[in-house]
Amino acid sequence: MALTLEDVKRVAHLARVAIDEAEARAVLSQINDVFKLIAEMQAVDTRGVEPMSHALDVVQRLREDAVTESDQHALFQSVAPQVEGDLYLVPKVIE
């Protein structure tokens, strides 16, 4: 099944990537080539096969409910685009 130009624009919005008409057109044909490749896998009969989400069948470890991190906000915020008063700055979101 081929994607449409509208699909590309919708998915770009969901992924929060700005895309203009020309870019959307260019990417559409490339993505549809990839989906042609993916279609080979869709025809396979997988009834009764358990999905494999990880390489090894291991269970999640539990850890002690203990403090392991120290306060390093100054170091971490030193690489942020915009900070003021220990806070990350973004455009106003509430009127």
């Binding site: 990537v17 700005a18 896998m41 869709q42 997988t46 096969v49 390489a55 470890r61």
Partner: protein, 485 residues
């Protein structure tokens, strides 16, 4: 000095024949002379490297030297290293100085290894040619008009050009083994979970695995001895007893059963590649190995499965790049949504955006079962094929890549052609199995061919021993590109 293996450099350091400072200076001066030609390194910091070298010399003087103490190692720019610019080959992280060390970097530092620099790579490790980097393409030292493979192409080319004795990389669908093959060096992707992913910038978390690149199997073992280890900060890190990966280097291969999957020698593999691999297999027979034809019937589905799972996981992992907490932020925007969209449109390159769009689509409402869950089911069929094959043989051998190095620009605008480069490497990632690539010949153009050895889970020591025995009997791994003295 630059043609020596890590093993022999370690011997020289231990005997005080030269110091780590001298060794590090030597490699820095080679990089200064040749990096323009190959574009292997994104960031160098000679002052920081030499400081580590001085500390390593003191460690050795105090009798605390370990095999890697004082050895300069190049790091793929996907590993966070405190105080180092860590870009992942992307404009998105072009101003990101890491505030912390990856687990692998911590372990290398503790062993006294010297960080020689951060190597160029495909943006966010998405590629098989090292052309999608924000910092320009890496060039293959065997022929500068060809690619070194990818995504760990800077690491592979640096080792091939004798700009570093060893390097570290990551492998999600072949990103250590394929560049090792195309650049004529050795590379190992360990069993999933052996090397911690903490501080390794995430691409597809169920597939990503760090590993070493070097010029001999023995050197890979020395590097893996330091890189591997349990780390509670990676929820998929395996808590296993520490192994010495050099322990089987001396073990003869007589009686070893080698499986040759017929799908690895089918159409699609270049004749020069098949010939070199068959000659390598013949060498193993001479060493007393048996061969048996086996089949991985679902192998051809690996690429389609991978291009659902990897983009899906990538679209989720790369959601963190929002222009707020770190990394690039678009200079102009109207509101918060516009900030996100413009930051991501400007900060990511074309291939990364394509994969984010594919991943977002296959995970979106109404398509999740048909794509993502179906891909996970086929993934299990592929893993089962390997389990069946390993009942009949000890290791699998075949080509690492269907072709030798291709020309820069040849495949970069045709994603599907680029993706098919990884047809022989992706299956091991999907199953979580260890895979390694070693040089086994040259094709008609004089470009290196890689032999891939895939083992069962946790068979790294055995595989390295097998590769080492081959390297005792042959000299392909010592061949250097003709421009390298």
């Amino acid at each position: 000095m630059h043609n020596a293996t890590i093993r022999s450099l370690a011997t020289g350091l231990a005997a005080r024949t030269f110091s780590s400072v001298e060794l590090t200076r030597h490699f820095i001066s080679r990089i200064n002379g040749l990096n323009k030609k190959y574009n292997c390194f994104i960031t160098l910091d000679p002052e920081a490297s030499l400081k580590q070298a001085e500390a390593a010399d003191r460690m050795r003087s105090a009798g605390k030297g370990r095999p890697l103490t004082g050895i300069p190692i190049a790091q793929k720019d996907i590993f966070c290293a405190r105080g180092w610019l860590t870009t992942c080959g992307s404009k998105m992280l072009s101003s990101f100085t890491s505030p912390y060390d990856a687990h692998v970097v911590e372990r290398l530092n503790a062993a006294g290894a010297v960080t020689l620099g951060k190597t160029n790579m495909d943006e966010f490790a998405m590629g098989s040619s090292s052309e999608t980097s924000h910092y320009g393409p890496v060039r293959n030292p065997w022929d500068v008009d060809t690619v070194p493979g990818g995504s760990s192409g800077g690491s592979a080319a640096a080792v091939a050009a004798r700009l570093a004795p060893g390097a570290i990389g990551t492998d999600t669908g072949g990103s250590i083994r394929q560049p090792a093959a195309l650049s004529g060096i050795c590379g190992l992707k360990p069993t999933y979970g052996v090397v911690s992913r903490y501080g390794m910038i995430a691409f597809a978390s169920s597939l990503d695995q760090g590993g070493p690149l070097a010029r001999s199997a023995e050197d890979l073992a020395l590097l893996l001895n330091v890189m591997a280890g349990f780390d509670p900060r990676d929820s998929t890190s395996l808590d296993r007893e520490h192994e010495d990966y050099t322990r089987e280097l001396g073990k003869p291969v007589k009686g070893l059963k080698i499986g040759l999957p017929r799908e690895f020698f089918a159409e699609g593999a270049a004749p020069g590649v098949v010939k070199a691999v068959e000659e390598a297999v013949a060498e193993f027979r001479k060493l007393g190995c048996e061969t048996v034809e086996v089949s991985l019937p679902n192998m051809k589905l690996s690429v389609p499965v991978y291009y659902v799972l990897a983009p899906a996981e990538a679209s989720s992992n790369l959601a963190r790049y929002d222009g707020v907490r770190y990394g690039y932020r678009a200079p102009e925007y109207a509101d918060l949504l516009d900030l996100y969209k413009k930051t991501r449109a400007q900060g990511f390159g074309a291939e990364v955006k394509r994969r984010i769009l594919i991943g977002t689509y296959v995970l979106s409402h109404g398509y999740y079962d048909a794509y993502y869950i179906q891909a996970q089911r086929v993934r299990r069929l592929i893993a089962r094929d390997f389990a069946e094959v390993f009942k009949r043989c000890d290791v699998i051998m075949g080509p690492t890549s269907p072709t030798t190095a291709f020309r820069i620009g040849e495949k970069v605008d045709d994603p599907v052609q680029m993706y098919l480069n990884d047809i022989y490497t992706i299956p091991a990632n999907l199953a979580g199995l260890p895979g390694l690539s070693i040089p086994c010949g040259l094709d008609g153009k004089g470009l290196p061919v890689g032999l891939q050895i895939i083992g069962n889970y946790f068979a790294e020591a055995r595989m390295l021993g097998i590769a080492h025995q081959y390297q005792q009997a042959t000299d392909w791994h010592t061949r250097a590109p003709k421009d390298i003295d």
